[in-house]
Amino acid sequence: MKQNIKRLGILIICLLAILVFYLSYLNVVRGSENVVNPHNRRLQEYESQVRRGTIYDSKGVVLATTGLSGEKNKRVYPRGSETAHILGYISEKYGRAGLESTCDRYLLGLEGADRARNYINRLLGREQLGGDVTLTIDSYLQGLALDLLGKRRGAVVLLDPRTGALLALVSNPVYDPNKLEEIWPQLIQDEDSPLLNRAVQGAYPPGSTFKIVTAAGALAARPDASRQTFNCRGLLEVNGYELEDTAVHGRVDIKKAIAVSCNTTFAQLGLDQGAQNFVTTIKAFGIDQDPGIGLPVRPGTMASPEEIIPTELAGSAIGQGELLVSPLHMALVAAAIANSGDLMKPYLVKTVKDSMGQVLQREEARHWLNVTTPQICGIIKDGMVDAVRSGTATAAGVAGVQVAGKTGSAQNPHGQTHAWFIGFAPADQPRLAVAVLVENAGSGGSVAAPVAGQLISTALNKGY
């Protein structure tokens, strides 16, 4: 029996030892992961003890800073509503959102050497300091994009396709984060949902901009599709349903079909490649994923391949099926074509420094997805260049620079079509990729394309 008692005793002591290891794991390995959960009410308490760090744009412009107002630290957003959707807010009453919440661990000095430093600061009764965060956003371009949207509801996403760095991420309407607590009751009742970040959380039918994805899938499934011609009679019959085109385009190949945005050709290309291949292509573009930019992105939604009947497939191939995507995802589609099929991981936070200026984290260009081949991208790019030169997207043209683009006018149950434009420039060596969406505003070519054109033109002039 002594032997049994000994073994049992060792077992119980081991159980307790496991607790010590597990507790160490929770604290050391998992670190502050649990602490920075926006539901942790301690964050609000820390807020009053810590001088929260500053958020800068890529040029060093202050986007968020902490000033003293009376006894309490007050968060100030010098660019106001312009960056509201990116930065989010911290509010005692209404919680935490946006990058302010995602970067809490750095801004509140809970990471790296700051953790130990602030521990000592607290013991000594000194002010605790948070670290600083620098974004990839250029506040000038951000402001310009917002101005270009004006009073219209919509979103603009501008990024560097070579790195994935997001230069502008705009959602309209906006709100003033400096007055959040006063205007909150109106904000949540406003029918235009100003709190919604349309650029990443919006769910829109992509319309004809999705033909880029359909083209990539068709060319991957059957490389000789590039030499095939289609005869557009302005109508395509699918299982007894008639799919109407905007015009009778006559004999077109795939490039021409992109340039003139021929519905019947792309519906046919969708049917030819089959539901399975179509869905695989959508996934290859990362449309079903949240790429993890620091803001929650709504993954695109679609019917599962088994449920896609031919009429749904033909509709989805021209962006009018059950498929819903965010403007960010469509900007990534453009970026993937621009970067020869190699999609870089999009990101918003460039560098994170602790309160002493020591760099804690530096985001670099990272490969994300192998979307398609350079050959396929070349064919699609030619079609997109033609679309801007002489097709549906001429309004996106920029003097002296070759722009590639694709428009969309997405039908939806809420009224006029959503105006879409996605594209990149300069076409031969793209440095900018863009997606513009304007809700219920008419055709992509006349409403969205000019916004993209002006934004690209200004960005190129600024040296991007």
């Binding site: 029996m1 002594k2 032997q3 049994n4 008692i5 000994k6 049992l8 005793g9 119980i12 002591i13 159980l15 307790l16 030892a17 496991i18 607790l19 010590v20 597990y22 507790l23 160490s24 929770l26 604290n27 050391v28 998992r30 670190g31 502050s32 992961e33 649990n34 602490v35 959960n37 539901h39 942790n40 009410r41 301690r42 308490e45 953790r115 521990y119 607290r122 013991l123």
Partner: protein, 436 residues
Amino acid sequence: MSGVYYAASHSNIKSPAGGRKVERNLLFLAALYLLAGIMALYLGESGSRVIIAVAAGLTVAAAFLLVHVYWKASGFKGDHYLFPVTAMLISTGLVFLFRLDPYYGMRQFIWILAGLGTLVFTSRVLLDLRFLGDYKYIYALLGLIALILPIFFGKEQGGAKSWLDFGFFQLQPSEFVKILLVLFLAGYLAENRAVLAAGARSLGGISLPGLPEWAPLVIMWGVSLLLLVFQRDLGAALIYFSTFLAMVYAATARIFYVLFGLGLFIAGSSASYLLFDHVRARVLIWLNPWPYIDNIGYQITQSLFAIGSGGIFGAGLGQGYPGYIPLVHSDFIFPAICEELGLLGGAGIIILFMMLIFRGIKIALRVRDEFLALVAIGLTSLLGLQAFIIIAGVTRLLPLTGVTLPYVSYGGSSLVANFILLGLLLNISHEADDSL
């Protein structure tokens, strides 16, 4: 503390009976720890609140030493380490209760005094425990009655209907029944050990004892478990069950029984998972509490926030926000300790329990009488498993089942019962010393 402990660990057998120097020195440390804790809590403050807390701290520290003086005078030869280690746990609990809510601090203070009285009483009246083995069926009967009472006359609290309301205080019978359970099992196993270990007949290559030998065991276990299910006291059920398995293993060394027991456990927990919503909810929030952060997952996520916020060194006594955790003064006192004393403080508590278990096992190994050895290992397992179950629960290592952290959590029944447990262990060690 462990250094002192180790350096002295071989001297106690040789120390003159009635000397108890090791205990005295360690108790001085515990008393100092308690007073330092109380002082740190009210650093730089004044007023009646401070005076009451400091007075309570001084009284408890003095009471610790008084118990020691009494034992020394009466020639008690119980283990020198059990009481000081327990005193450390009790002190931590008292300081934290004053910090969390002085109301609970004051009540715990009274309970500690009552508990210390019980401890002295136990060490005097039950000094020779061997006779206890003869009344095992009385314990079984008493235990069952004590468990049935709350079902009819009980008061529901925290989802469990396991309290008896006596007006100015409430009694949780299951805390006391756990000791009766150990006494019953020890008596029973000591008597039937040989038969149970060897088995009387063979069934498919596994030798099994006859029905009369093991039926009482299973019945006792099954009934107590059923009662607990009716009381919805999952924590106590888990402790009873694991202690039962531990003692059967210690007595028989037969893995078959353990496997059989685990099989029963899996069957029982699957059945209750299917039958009871509150069991399903526990499993659900164990697997992933985050989607339920606003309702059923609130408590456990608050606990995880507290533990995470503490870091390695803790926020410092009185500097954290453990008040966000519901029931922080009782089942959830451990995350409060982790938040303010950090990983080091939390690990310290666990190490104190390891010391208790270590001493308990030494006592069980040292005593010659089989019944007493089984009581010692049973009580030790009970203590260790209870600490393990609640700490694993609040850290989300295991599904949460509400039990108190022995000697630390607020609770009169728990405290007094655990003092009786301590007294019994000490008496057995006294016995062991005699038999050397």
